[in-house]
């Protein structure tokens, strides 16, 4: 079955709501039976990373608004946009981490989220500025003729 539709969540910018975001996105993605469970798990993880960054951005900016998670369920792909109203960042100048086998690597507990999103989604784009950030994640849905 193929369903097209939009699901939009307005979520309080609190970590306790991440599980709800993952559950809704996972269930929405599962409506299309052509997406296998591993890709749905990838999507849940990518969205969780984006929503975590959105919550952090708003908390650190002192913005009390809810974050927005918008799922566009189309025939060929699932597109998720996570929007916050934090003060933004430069995605091209995110600090790089020391080599994983370097002792200094243990000093860094964060900084993996963007890299994970880019690995997990088929497309990742980020628009960011002083008024907020929108992260767009796309996972393509294989059609019957696809090899993968």
């Amino acid at each position: 079955m193929t369903v097209e539709g939009i699901v939009e969540l307005l979520v309080p910018a609190r970590p306790e709501y991440l599980q709800l975001v993952r559950a809704v996105v996972g269930e929405a993605a599962a409506v299309d039976s052509n997406l296998d469970p591993e890709r749905i798990a990838d999507l849940r993880l990518a969205v969780s990373e984006a929503a975590t960054n959105a919550i952090e951005a708003q908390v650190s900016s002192g913005v009390a608004d809810r974050i927005v998670v918008r799922c566009n369920l189309a025939a060929a792909q699932i597109e998720i946009e996570v929007t916050d109203r934090g003060t933004g960042f430069d995605p091209d100048h995110v600090r790089s981490l020391p080599d994983v086998e370097s002792p200094e690597r243990l000093e860094y507990e964060s900084g993996l989220g963007l890299s994970l999103m880019r690995q997990l989604a088929d497309e990742t784009s980020i628009e960011t500025g002083i008024d907020g950030t929108a992260v767009r994640l796309v996972v393509r849905i294989p059609t019957a003729g696809d090899e993968t």
């Binding site: 991440l18 993880l45 969780s48 975590t52 243990l106 993996l112 994970l116």
Partner: protein
């Protein structure tokens, strides 16, 4: 409650069993548990992730923090992570090169410290 903990003694190891989601909501609880254990002198820890349903980069960060804390007290930390979906997250972040992921507590505590 998104993440719950049980402590089991397997002398000289302490096994910390996690149940639930290890994300931004669960990570502070892990940091607190590890800080309490290390303060009590339990610095050889097994983190049992067998019953963890979900882990993300924030959860991985808390595991990295746990390793740093026990090592700063001359301890060690090993992971039990038999679930392929969780193992994949470690691999995507190259952290399978930092942590050996054991299939069971028995193999983890039998491993060289």
């Amino acid at each position: 409650m998104h993440l719950e903990f049980d402590r089991i003694s397997r002398d000289p190891w302490t096994v910390l069993v996690l149940r639930g989601d290890l994300d931004m909501a669960g990570a502070p609880g892990l940091r607190r548990e590890v800080a309490q254990l290390v303060a009590a002198g339990d610095n050889r820890l097994v983190l049992d992730l067998s019953a963890v349903d979900f882990i993300d980069s924030t959860g991985l960060g808390a595991v990295i923090g746990a390793l740093r804390r026990v090592r700063s007290h001359d301890g060690d930390l090993v992971l039990v992570c038999p679930e392929p979906r969780l193992q994949r997250v470690f691999e995507l972040c190259d952290l399978d090169r930092v942590f050996e992921l054991h299939g069971s507590v028995a193999t983890a505590v039998g491993a060289p410290a």
